[in-house]
Symmetry: C2
Subunit: 226 residues, 2 copies
């Protein structure tokens, strides 16, 4: 695996101690820089980027310095270069592959979206237990019998499993995937999959953002009451 270097050819620090906040911001940098590139903007100051992203300029400089991405005094950041760096740090160039486990509405929505492709990930297969679905295709990917999961994973390099199956099956499925050597689980089942030694886990709780929204609505009402 090649190690990214900065413009001065220094290795980019890849400390596992990256703070949770910085880690959360990286995909945001990726999104904003992509937008800038798409708009044909190739230079940006930390101040302007900060304003776009509702951060402070010093926060931006700190975050990016941390990864060895230095702006040029008076010239700002080279957007194309910075985007390439952040892409590298986020593993966009690692050609990861993914499978979807559970072809309900959410699994289907994922399979039909460009959420994987636009991040350099190749969605290779889907799995379900329903006989009506097995053997069908969605966006060119075959739906396999969940009983074939282990044999499929033994024959194909799969990095990420997307869990969009029933909550009650989440824990057992995570164990199966761990045994089969999966590297990452993107979990939408609303059941928390605990940390595993060799598997990265990202639990997504869609309901949490809904509750935050309700909280905000309530706060606005209380503010306008006072």
């Amino acid at each position: 695996m090649s190690y990214p270097t900065n413009e001065k050819n220094q290795a980019i620090p890849q400390s596992p101690a990256v703070s949770r906040q910085v880690k959360t911001r990286l995909p945001r940098y990726y999104r904003y820089l992509k937008e800038l590139l798409d708009a044909g903007i190739y230079r940006i100051s930390s101040g302007k980027l900060a304003k776009m992203m509702a951060l402070t300029a010093s926060q931006i400089r700190q975050d990016l310095n941390y990864f060895g991405c230095f702006g040029q005094q008076g010239y700002g950041y080279n957007v194309k270069y910075l985007f390439a760096q952040i892409s590298e740090i986020l593993g966009v160039n690692d050609k990861l592959t993914a499978v979807i486990i559970g072809v309900g509405n959410l699994g289907r929505a994922m399979a039909q979206s460009n959420i994987f492709l636009s991040r350099g990930i190749n969605l290779v297969a889907l799995f379900d237990k329903s006989p009506e679905l097995i053997g069908k295709e969605i966006s060119g990917r075959c739906i396999y019998d969940i009983d074939q999961l282990e044999s499929y994973l033994a024959e194909h390099r799969v990095d990420v499993a997307v869990l969009t199956l029933t909550s009650t099956q989440a824990q057992a499925m995570a164990k199966r995937l761990e045994s089969a050597g999966i590297r990452g689980i993107w979990n939408f089942t609303n059941v928390e999959i605990p940390k595993m030694k060799n598997v990265s886990v990202m639990n997504v709780y869609m309901g949490d953002s809904l509750m935050q929204l309700c909280f905000d609505i309530r706060q606005k009402a209380l503010e306008s009451d006072t």
Copy 2:
């Protein structure tokens, strides 16, 4: 609107200056406390709750004190009471209503899930522009013509609009909803809806958590390389 009070009948501070971190943690408290209740656990120490939630006991005490939820020295927290308090703070008892705008796979998945009901929100209608969908029902909710949006919102109290329509229509739709007096937008379109004065906005970027997962996978690989 009744104002929540703590056991000593003091008003719970509802400062708009709640930190982003605390706000993010509130829905997690809600989830964990609900799990405890479902498991028949009615007392918990801050230490145990902290362990479950991978926080520190002092963080828990700080967060909950902030909202006027005090534990009893030596007895810990009353789970039922705490759950009721957090529910109140999050507006679960406010009987909010919601509509879904855009009945693709994601909109359909939302409509068929219990994501609204389990948080006290009543999903009342769906909207789409496709003639094949208009007039149909999903889980007992009618799909209306998007052209009827304003008249529907004028006749029914709707608090939250869920945006699951095409990205290109997101901005224009947010403006329409703002004009129609919506209170909150839960946005899944991947286009950032900027803050609005009278509307709470929660932009959800599903791809961001995927990128965080890829970053974690990469970190694990780099760690095991060294």
